[in-house]
């Protein structure tokens, strides 16, 4: 039992320390986006009718080396800046799945066929997901406004989620953007991420690794579903997990299973899903996760039909090692000190977010009997 709790603590620490820098950086960028995007022409470009915005969001996401936790603040700030839901969710899915380092690592260790399938799926799946979410998802509405941190954090005025163009100076606008990103959005996201991280830690601690290992080696429909659901719930970084998938593949795992695990694992995880669930809307997030899992499973079936039986990734080992080096060089590494400082910052934000959440609940309860003049009451 103590080993399981040790594993829980290790997993929690690793998710937080790996993603902290990117979450903080994304909060800073997200704050600036929220301040400057509504008044810029870029927003018109992102909101243009047709598929151009969606494709642009996917391609932009594909070159960013951000993990699925780091992309949350950026996606939410885009959403709250008035960008359409489809491009936002396509961006949120494409960013962690595809990045240049992951593609090169995949080419080095998984072979050209699986890399082709991986890149195609990484571009097509976010596109389909964006279309689905835009058609049936929850648009920016009262539901999301009710949970807006601006509104519920004690800020006296209920302001619109889309900030109007400001006539203030550049420095004060930057300060306002950073305040929104760090002080308003940051604690809320860090709080919900904490809940997700704790859940992911429990799964990692109490799910037997041998069970996962044995499931990932099969090629049945149940194994595809298990790989999809398991991948969607744990925290997987594409670059770090490609060697693990390569090892599984070399010991007999079906290529379709590898694709499902890699795509669902990198695109989603519990911290991300919990944060999006509570900030963007329940229906949208359920559709987002379901589309990813089902889409990845379908792709897994197609890849299995294409490459099985007898698939064995064979390529030049020296070239493979060179490519691994190139992929690792492209992946930005965060130094220990910066990582620790970011982790401390994220933990502080999570603590503040927890305190704010508890204070809000107490205030709601205390005003439940009387007249509630809070903007959060409805």
């Amino acid at each position: 039992m103590s080993v399981a709790w040790q594993q829980f603590a290790t997993t929690v620490w690793q998710i937080v320390s790996e993603s902290a820098f990117w979450v903080i950086a994304s909060l800073v960028v997200g704050g600036l986006v929220h301040e400057f995007l509504p008044s810029s022409r870029f927003r018109e470009l992102l909101n243009r009718k047709g598929q151009g915005a969606m494709l642009g969001a996917i391609l932009f996401g594909a070159i960013l080396p951000i993990c699925s936790c780091g992309v949350i603040p950026l996606a939410i700030s885009l959403y709250r800046s008035g960008v359409r839901l489809g491009p936002v969710m396509a961006f949120a899915a494409a960013t962690p799945i595809i990045n240049p380092a992951a593609v090169i690592m995949s080419l080095a260790l998984l072979g050209p066929q699986i890399t082709l399938a991986y890149v195609t799926l990484g571009l097509v799946l976010p596109y389909c997901l964006g279309l689905i979410v835009e058609r049936w998802g929850t648009p920016l509405s009262a539901e999301s406004v009710a949970e807006t941190p601006d509104c519920c954090s004690g800020t006296p005025v209920c302001e619109s989620t889309v900030t109007p163009a400001s006539s203030a100076g550049l420095v004060s606008r930057i300060a306002a953007g950073l305040r929104w990103g760090i002080a308003d959005l940051g604690p809320t996201i860090a709080f919900y991420m904490t809940l997700g991280v704790l859940l992911a830690g429990l799964i990692a601690a109490f799910l037997p690794p041998a069970w996962v290992d044995s499931y990932l080696r099969e090629s049945t429909g149940t194994a595809l579903l298990a790989a999809g659901v398991f991948g969607a719930s744990i925290y997987v970084c594409a670059v770090a997990h490609i060697p693990l998938v390569a090892s599984l593949l070399a010991t007999g795992a079906a290529p379709g299973i590898s694709i499902v695990f890699l795509v669902t694992g990198t695109a989603t995880n519990l911290p991300e899903l919990v944060a999006l669930y509570n900030t963007i809307g329940r229906r949208t997030v359920v559709m987002y996760a379901a589309s990813l899992i089902v889409g990845a499973m379908l792709a897994g079936v197609i890849v299995n039909a294409w490459l099985l039986p007898g698939f064995e990734p064979v390529f030049d080992p020296v070239r493979s090692l060179d490519l691994v080096d190139a992929g690792e060089r492209l992946q930005p590494t965060i130094g220990n000190v910066l990582s620790l400082v970011s982790t401390a910052g994220l933990v502080a934000l999570a603590g503040f977010g927890t305190w704010r959440w508890v204070a809000l609940r107490i205030r709601r309860r205390s005003t439940a009997g009387g007249s509630d003049d809070s903007c959060c009451s409805g």
């Binding site: 594993q7 290790t10 620490w13 990692a204 041998a210």
Partner: protein, 205 residues
């Protein structure tokens, strides 16, 4: 402002000189910890290599201190004086080099599971494994087709190298802590490489 600074100096001296009960202990504790950290950092700044990789590897012979890899946490440092030019002239065959690399990776897998291996040390050793593997593969490529090592074994060792680098990225503070799934794959890959080597040895005998 200046009176505030002047006023604070005697108070500070009081703490240092022990007129206050609590603060001298605190200052001593902080001082000891800082000094200890600096000494540790200075000691760990010297690149170290595992002893399992030393044997007959001219590539690592150049004046680098070698620390014996011990899974019990004991380490002994010594110079690689036996690995001079004469050793380099007796370069072993490719298979022997792969065996040495296998010993090195086995030691690294064990270290990854300890939960107390310094991250910088592990990273250096994983890097060394990769570079030695690259050198071995380049040498192997230069040989005639009949003498070349099997591709699948080399590919397995490339995968091992990538897994070791993934493990090197799994840090809790400054020590390596591998998640269970990665640990499982490391062990599985290690046994796969060992079995592959045994098969080739049997075939060649």
């Amino acid at each position: 402002m200046s009176s505030r600074i002047k006023g604070s100096q005697p108070r500070f001296r009081q703490y240092i000189e022990g007129e206050n009960d609590l603060y001298p202990h605190l200052f001593r504790l902080v001082g000891t910890c800082t000094l200890g950290t600096l000494v540790n950092l200075a000691a760990s700044a010297v690149p170290v290599l595992p002893v399992d990789a030393r044997a007959s590897n001219p590539a690592i012979a150049d004046n680098i201190p070698i620390r014996a890899v011990s899974t019990k946490g004991e380490a002994s440092t010594r110079n690689a004086e036996h690995m001079d030019g004469s050793a380099a002239t007796q370069a072993p065959g490719g298979l022997q080099r792969l065996e040495e690399l296998n010993l090195l990776s086995a030691a690294l897998v064990e270290k990854a599971g300890l939960g107390s291996t310094p991250a910088h040390e592990f990273r250096i050793e994983a890097r060394m494994y990769r570079e030695l593997l690259r050198q071995t593969m380049l040498n192997n490529r230069a040989q005639s087709t009949s003498d070349q090592l099997p591709q699948h074994l080399l590919l397995d060792m490339v995968r091992m190298s990538a897994l070791l680098h993934s493990a090197a990225d799994c840090k809790t503070g400054f020590v390596i802590t591998c998640p269970a799934d990665l640990m499982l794959q490391l062990k599985s890959q290690q046994s796969r490489v060992t079995q592959g080597l045994k098969m080739i040895q049997m075939m060649r005998e």
